[in-house]
């Protein structure tokens, strides 16, 4: 069995940041693996550990810089990775769902997986559509926002999160694409042994030409027109921690505001 996991290195914005035209200046960005993808990787690795002869392949669209992030997925148990990049991507502000779908579908056509796992969405552009669009392109069955996954012979039973707290249990025929929700498992840390082994695993640098595609794949009807910081109308204080701790903090605030004063 082969599982293809799509992963993305996303930009995380620091608390203080500067907007530069339609992007955020590089100095206020840090790069990390997309949170949802971390759960998708864990789901795939768990399936591989439980089964015989399961290969987990990660695929990403990203520049050379992203290799370190992808290497972390390899350190957590992914067998090898494919990194697609091309000069054509360099000048694109926004890679839309269709472009990503075309690229990932071309990789999937080469890899011929039985199962594709993606994160529900990417933390930076948050389209939340690539997984399902990929299923459509490949003609695979699919389920989105999956928070439980049991793999059978030719089917998978999945639990999906719907709106309003409703959950759906459903059987999906394989091959299929599942978009994985956070919380489905507890992503592991990379072990130091895993980090060491990951240095020897393959990250295949792949160009558009290698996939039978060309620069036209990045063309898009979508355009990023403006980037701005919404004005805040009031401040929010968020208490974190268990009920006891947050209740105590709330009590302090109320007391400071004069509630309960004699």
């Amino acid at each position: 069995m082969k599982i293809l996991v799509t992963v993305k290195e996303v930009a995380e914005v620091e608390d203080d940041f500067e907007i530069d035209g339609t992007s955020i200046s590089e100095s206020s960005l840090e790069y990390d693996l997309n949170e949802w993808d971390d759960y998708a990787v864990e789901a795939a690795v768990q399936i591989a550990e439980a089964g015989d002869d399961v290969e987990v392949v990660a695929v990403t669209i990203g520049p050379e810089r992203s290799e370190e992030t992808i290497r972390m997925a390899l350190a957590k148990g992914v067998d090898r990775a494919v990194r697609v990049w091309d000069d054509a991507f360099e000048d694109v502000d926004l890679l839309d769902v269709e472009s990503k779908t075309d690229v990932l579908a071309a990789v999937a056509a080469e890899e011929d997986p039985d199962l594709v796992l993606t994160g529900v969405q990417a933390a930076d552009d948050s389209f939340g559509a690539t997984g399902v669009s990929l299923a459509d392109e490949l003609g695979f069955e699919w389920a989105a926002v999956v928070n439980d996954l049991e793999l059978g012979e030719d089917t998978a039973s999945v639990r999906r999160e719907l709106e309003g707290g409703v959950e759906e249990l459903t059987e999906v025929e394989l091959p299929a694409v599942f978009t994985i929700q956070t919380g489905i498992n507890e992503p592991r840390y990379a072990s130091l042994r895993g980090i060491r082994q990951a240095q020897r695993k393959e990250i295949a640098a792949t160009g558009l030409g290698d996939l039978g595609l060309d620069a036209s794949v990045v063309e898009s009807d979508l355009r990023l027109t403006e980037m701005y910081e919404p004005e805040s109308e009031s401040d929010v204080t968020l208490f974190e921690g268990d009920a006891e701790a947050t209740a105590a903090e709330l009590a302090t605030v109320l007391r400071e505001k004069g509630v309960g004063a004699e």
Binding site: E67, A75, Y189, A190, S191, L192, I195, R196, G241
Partner: protein, 387 residues
């Protein structure tokens, strides 16, 4: 995180990944609970096997399933663990540098096969018995003795200030083999369930509270010949281990100091008095400038040590210099950080006072600050002050 002269930008990918993994682990698994453990005087035992699964014990050794990472990666790991708490780094130091290292360096194949994988996974816990109630800075004066008895030895004596002895499965005990001429010091791997072994816990510590400390009592404990470390004799055995552990401490202290610095910087830029953040006042800026400078120079020393160790040129006296300097630095800067936090700084909500108090232990364990001065003094003058 403070990296003022960009030392970390020269790290290899593998080293950065080790740093990031350790940092995340400490932040997620240790961060919120360590202050409670500190108050209670307990160690978060669940992390023993977690750290084992992640390969945090002796990752700079190879073979026997150990990853054989660079000395820099190992140093970074110690740094990140001690940014959490000195108790956490002490756990990893003792298990890795003081128990696994000597087995790896001086043990028999059978000892390596039996102990290294279990210690690496954290399934077994080890401790290191050198210090005695009457012999601290001068371990050569040790009284614990081993006497030949048929195919084995009988051990008697007592050891104290032994990290993890109450939870240890095996103690590496250093004792004088009185059956031989000149009674050379030898190492013995003593399972703590052997008859005659006691491991009392030392309570009521005011420092390094999130760490388990105890004694080892040896009352005519029989161990077979196979329990001795075959490949070393004399004080160079325990001293070689201490060099390994002190190397980790020189790195670890930077982590504690860095955590103090970051806490103080965050606090000072957030806390407003007289209409602006206190970080805007010259007095606080001078403290931050000095703290950052001291941490940066300690980092430079640690990174240089790593390079020397990697190529096999590191001398124990150089480790003494780094341990001496970096721990003193952390001890001093933790106090400055606490001071910047005002009254809030004396609560467990903030880390500096916990680090400050931990550093009192670190300052005098693994060779006191003063003993390291004398080691350097001897190296620089050729005259030993302690003989």
């Amino acid at each position: 995180m403070l990296d003022y002269v960009g030392l970390e930008s020269d790290l290899g990918e593998e080293e950065r990944m080790v740093r990031d993994t350790a940092r995340q682990f400490v932040e997620n698994e240790i961060g919120d609970d360590i202050a409670d453990h500190y108050i209670e005087g307990t160690f978060p035992k669940e992390v023993i096997t977690e750290m084992g699964e992640l390969g945090f014990y002796a990752p700079n050794l190879d073979g026997y399933g150990l990853p054989g990472l660079s000395e820099t990666a190992y140093g970074l790991l110690m740094q990140e663990l001690e940014a959490g708490d000195s108790g956490l780094r002490s756990m990893a130091s003792v298990q890795g540098a003081l128990v696994m290292y000597p087995i790896h360096a001086f043990g028999s194949e059978a000892q390596k096969d039996e102990w290294l994988p279990r210690l690496a996974d954290g399934e077994a816990v080890g401790c290191f018995g050198l210090t005695e109630p009457e012999h601290g800075s001068n371990p050569t004066g040790m009284e614990t003795k081993a006497e030949r008895d048929g195919d084995g030895y009988v051990l008697s004596g007592s050891k104290t200030w032994i990290t993890n002895s109450p939870i240890a499965d095996v103690a590496l005990v250093w004792a004088r083999d009185v059956s031989e001429e000149d009674a050379p010091v030898r190492g013995f791997l003593v399972e703590t369930d052997r008859e005659g072994v006691t491991t009392n816990k030392i309570d009521e510590k005011l420092s390094l509270r999130a760490s388990i400390t105890g004694e080892i009592g040896l009352s005519d404990v029989y161990v077979p010949e196979e329990s001795t470390l075959p490949e070393v004799e004399g004080m160079k055995g325990p001293l070689a281990c201490l060099t390994q552990a002190r190397y980790g401490i020189a790195w670890g202290a930077i982590g504690a100091a860095r955590d103090c610095f970051e806490t103080a910087r965050d606090y000072a830029t957030d806390r407003e008095q007289f209409g602006k953040p206190i970080a805007g006042f010259q007095l606080q800026q001078e403290k931050l400038a000095e703290m950052a400078t001291q941490i940066t120079t300690a980092q430079l020393l640690a990174h240089r040590l790593a390079d020397l160790k990697e190529r096999g040129d590191l001398r124990p006296q150089q480790v003494s210099m780094a341990k001496r300097n970096n721990v003193r630095m952390a001890r001093d800067q933790a106090r400055v950080a606490r001071e910047m936090l005002g009254g809030n700084g004396i609560t467990t909500d903030y880390s500096p006072m916990r680090h400050m108090s931990n550093m009192e232990t670190v300052y005098t364990y693994e060779g006191t600050h003063d003993i390291h001065s004398l080691i350097l003094g001897e190296d620089l003058t050729g005259i030993a002050a302690f003989q």
